[in-house]
Structures are given as structure tokens and as C-alpha cells.
Symmetry: C2
Amino acid sequence: MTVTIREVADAAGVSTATVSRALSGVQTVDPELVARVRQSAEALGYRANRVARALRRQSTQTVGLVIPDITNPFFPPVVQAVEKELRRGGLSLLLCDAGDDVDIEAELVRNLFDHQIDGLLISVCDRVASKPAVELAASRVPVLQIDQRAAADVPYVGVDQVDAISQILAHLREQGCQSFAYIGPRQEISPATERLDEFLAQVAPLDAAAAGRVCLGDSSLSWGHQAAAQLVDGSGRPDAIVCATDQIALGALRALSEHRVKVPGDVAVTGFGDTVLASACDPALTSIRQPLEELGTEAVKALTSAIEQHLSQPQSALLKGELIVRASSQRK
Amino acid sequence: MTVTIREVADAAGVSTATVSRALSGVQTVDPELVARVRQSAEALGYRANRVARALRRQSTQTVGLVIPDITNPFFPPVVQAVEKELRRGGLSLLLCDAGDDVDIEAELVRNLFDHQIDGLLISVCDRVASKPAVELAASRVPVLQIDQRAAADVPYVGVDQVDAISQILAHLREQGCQSFAYIGPRQEISPATERLDEFLAQVAPLDAAAAGRVCLGDSSLSWGHQAAAQLVDGSGRPDAIVCATDQIALGALRALSEHRVKVPGDVAVTGFGDTVLASACDPALTSIRQPLEELGTEAVKALTSAIEQHLSQPQSALLKGELIVRASSQRK
DNA sequence: CTGAAAGCGCTAACAG
DNA sequence: CTGTTAGCGCTTTCAG
């Protein structure tokens, strides 16, 4: 077994209460006793049992993080930042991967409550179906949605999609593009749908025909390939293709190359996410870099501050992405 | 507050002991009482407090996973599989990212012990410097090292590097390659050094000059670029370049293209890891696919079986990778 | 088979 | 400022 507070108390010749107070420093204790306790604790290698402490304090110093799929390159930097920032505050991370399944997600949230988490960070699987789980959670502990949100009345930390799309379109116009197309997923995840909505809203005054060049499928390379092939085959070929993900853009790049369409000469292409693919492909891809570490860090700051102040609602925040211009869109 | 066992007991008109026994099914209880208890529990939405249970049972049903950097594409699939398999057994995951820092790693391990974890999975930062932390951990709970190991006497689950290198060399010979080079990291992480050692051992009988064409730097694309440029500039240009990572191989591909060296015509190139880059680049990269999900799954199986059987040492395992042949090495 | 009672390790309330 | 005592919510003896 490990060393208990009882043993430290005996070694220092004081009560367990005094040991607890001396080590936590929450109440004034005779400096001499503090020294004696510290020394005994050190000598014995005492470390407080967080389970016992949690039961007594009714606070586990533990936060849950539920994400839909850690294999999605969006998440690792977020998870890393979350864990690091939590640790700065002495908190630990229970990580759950829902595997894009709403039922599993709900079960994970329940399980996290059994663990008596002090707060929850969640990036939901489904904009609609995940709502009950998020709202239930929010009624119990401070909850913050990250990037993908299901419940409008639960706080949220994400990337400003309006700003991102407007950066992309402004850049493309500067490069002389006049006719626009969009390739994205049909899937109901909130940032992606926002992306599409914003594209449509902002492109309308620039190009009335753009709404007719919206291709909705999934987020894969092969869908990008297929959709782009269609776009260049048809009449009214656009001179700019805005893609909702880098994967899609990569597929588009391939299709265009196969059709002997020059990028960026004939058509400019943009991706989204600035994943490792964007700089690896040829031509390198113009893309929006999302502030992923910052997203994780800000989420934890907001959550912990709500936990400490006993607020039920953390503060929402919207961070801005950055357009990374590379060869795929530079016509000048 | 949440519902306690006391409230369920009162509602069902029995003692808390009976509720505990009825719900856990560990002891025979009158079927009628079981039904009554179940119903009350259901009605009240009772869920056992895992903190209290852990304190009493001296088992948290929680496992720690320490990895050097979740941003490394090797880890997300492993983490995902680990979490999923743990959940199958009713266990939860405390995830820690050491940020490639041995001191942080050691602190994380101590912190996990404060949480009274039942077992530990660790992929160490440093083959040498991480040893004390791993051995300390292994003296307290079952520990399993994943992929990167520091302590030879602590069990290990990893990928068979001997087999992987021999698959690569066999394939390259089949393609008619006769003079070999190697580009890898200098860094002291165990699978990479094994890769190099095996390359040297297996290539010696094939090409005496190969040992002179070993370039050691880091794992980056730019190092691959630099090293490959050097290799083709010098005399005695090889007709095959074995790279320790896909990133390196990608850099090599670029350098070769800039030097007008044809791949695979003049030089065959292989990567390692079969990351998303391998299929995205042009020419597509021949690479070793590592069984990452399986690695996570097997690690958890071995660990939980040790925990359940109160063994201090889980069972080690060595899994085989698979050579994925793509354009970069196909000369026939 | 069931209930009463003890106790996991810690901290907070309460006296002194 | 310090010690005694109680109790967080649960499970497991120990009697009955």
C-alpha cells in the first residue's frame, strides 16, 4: 500500500487534521509544525489520495472531454492543449471518443457523471441528435461545447466561420476570380453547414450563378475528385473552387490535373483546416489555419473559471482563423 | 445533488447493503427484493458514485495512458482503440501528453498514482531517461509499454521492426535494387533505432557500401530533403532509399524531383508508417502500415487481464506491420 | 438471505 | 492554533 495521512501524522506527532491543514495551507498552522509535517511527508513520500479527497471535498479535480473521432486531425492539437492547460490548474483529463455515434456519446456523458467530473468539454457528433445529452450535462456541471455545437443555449468555443469564408472570398477576388464553386460535405456538423451558409450569403452579390455550383457529398478526397470532375466537365466552369476541407481540395486538385485544367492558372482552389496535406501537395494548397491549440486553451480557461466561481455557464468565445496563401490560389 | 444509494434503499424499503448487493449481483438476494430495488433505482435514476466505490473497493476502474505527443499521427488511432477497448471492460481512460519532456512525463506518472489508477499504459519519451519513471510505475501497478520502450524488464507491446525492414528490403530486391541508402532520425526513440540497426544488419550481405549511405538527422520533411539531395549529388548514388518515416520520404521525393532523378525509375523510395501523406503524394509512397488499432486493443487486453488476475506483469506482444506497395518503389 | 455497523483516506465543523 | 469527531457514498464483514 501507499503512505496515508495517518502515518505522516504519527511520524510528525500531530493529528491528521493538522497534516491536512499544514500541507494544503488553507488555514494558519504553527510554522514549526508545518516544517515538521512537511519533513515527515517528504521522508515518507506521502502523496494525498485524490479519490478520498474527492469524496470528501465533493470535487474530483477532473474534467471530461468527449470528441467524435480523435482520428480527425482537427482534434489532436485541441486535446493536447486541453490537457496541458488543465494540468496547469491541477486538473486531470478523462478522454472519451464517441466514434461518431450519438448513443455512445450519451453513454459516455453518463459515465463521466458517475466519475463525478467537475466540468465537461464536448465536441458533439451530431448537431441535432446530440442536443439532449449536452443539455442534460449542462444541468449538472459547467459544460462548454467545442467547435461543433448542438445546443444553442449552452456556451460554445469555436472558430469564426463567417470571418474565414470572407477571408477566402476576399483573397480570391483579389486574384481576379469571378465565378465560384463550393464542394463540401452534406453531413450535419455545425461548422461545415455554417461554412456553406456563409459561402452562399457572401458569394451571392459576386456571382449569381454560384448557388448552382454547390456540390454536397462527404468530406473525402474521392468526393472532392468526383465533384471537381463534374464542375469542369459541365458548362459554366468556375474560376475558383472553395472546398470545405483539405481532403476535398486534394481530390479536386487531382481531378483538375487529370482534366488538364491548370491550377491556379485556369482555376484557383482553396482548402480548409491547413492540415499537413495542404503543405505536402503540389501545388501547395491555400487554406484556413484554425487556431486549434488556442481553442483548447481558451476552452479550459473558460471552463475552469466557471468551475472556480461556481457559475453554471462558462463564457463563450469565437476565435479567428488565418488564411495561409499558397500556390493553389495565386494567380498574380 | 445526485441520487444516493440511501435514497434507493429507503424507496425500496431495504438496507443500503441490500441495494448494493442487488445491483451488483455479487451475492444471492431474494429475487423479489432484487426486482423492487431495481425498480426504485430505475425510477430515481440512481447511478453509483464511482469515487465512493473506488475508495471502498480500492480500485478505481481507471487506467492511465501517457504518450509523448498526441500530435504525432501514430498515436490517435492507438488512443482511440485503447479507449474503446477499455470501455468494453467498464474502465475509463486518464490521458496525459508529456510533450516529449521526460520531467513532465515523470510528474504525470506520479499524478496518475495519486488518482489510484489500476494500471498504466505508456509510450515513453526517451529510451534512456524515461526508465526510472517506468520502473517506479511497474513496482506499483501493472504497466505495459507501447511501441517506445525504456525498461527491458517491463512488458511491451509493439511492432516487429525486424520483420518490417525485411519486408522492405525483400521488396526492393525484387524490384531489382542493388545499392541502398537510409535516411532516419538521430533521436533516441527505440523503434527508430531498431529500424536503423535492422537495416544495417540486413543490408550488409546485399550491399557492402550501404553503411556509408546512412544519413541521420531528425524526422522532418526538410531533413529528408536535405539528406536525399546529398545522396544523389555524391558519387555512388544508390538505387533505393529507405526512409524511417513518411515525412522524411516526402522530403526525399521532393529533392529527387528537383534533381531530375526519376522515382521509381532511377531510385526507389520507401516510407514508414503509411500515414495519410503516403497515399496523398505523387508518386504515391510505398510504406509500412503499422497495426495501430490492434496495438491499442492488444495492449488493453493484456493489461486488463493482468489487473483482473492480480498479476504484476502483463503479457508482452509483438505485432507485424504490412508493406503497402505503391508507385514510389515499383520498377517492374 | 438480510440488516447493522465499520471503514476506505481524507477534510471540515466544532470545541477547546 | 490544534485535536477530536463526524461523515463524504459506497461495499463488506459480521451477526442474526
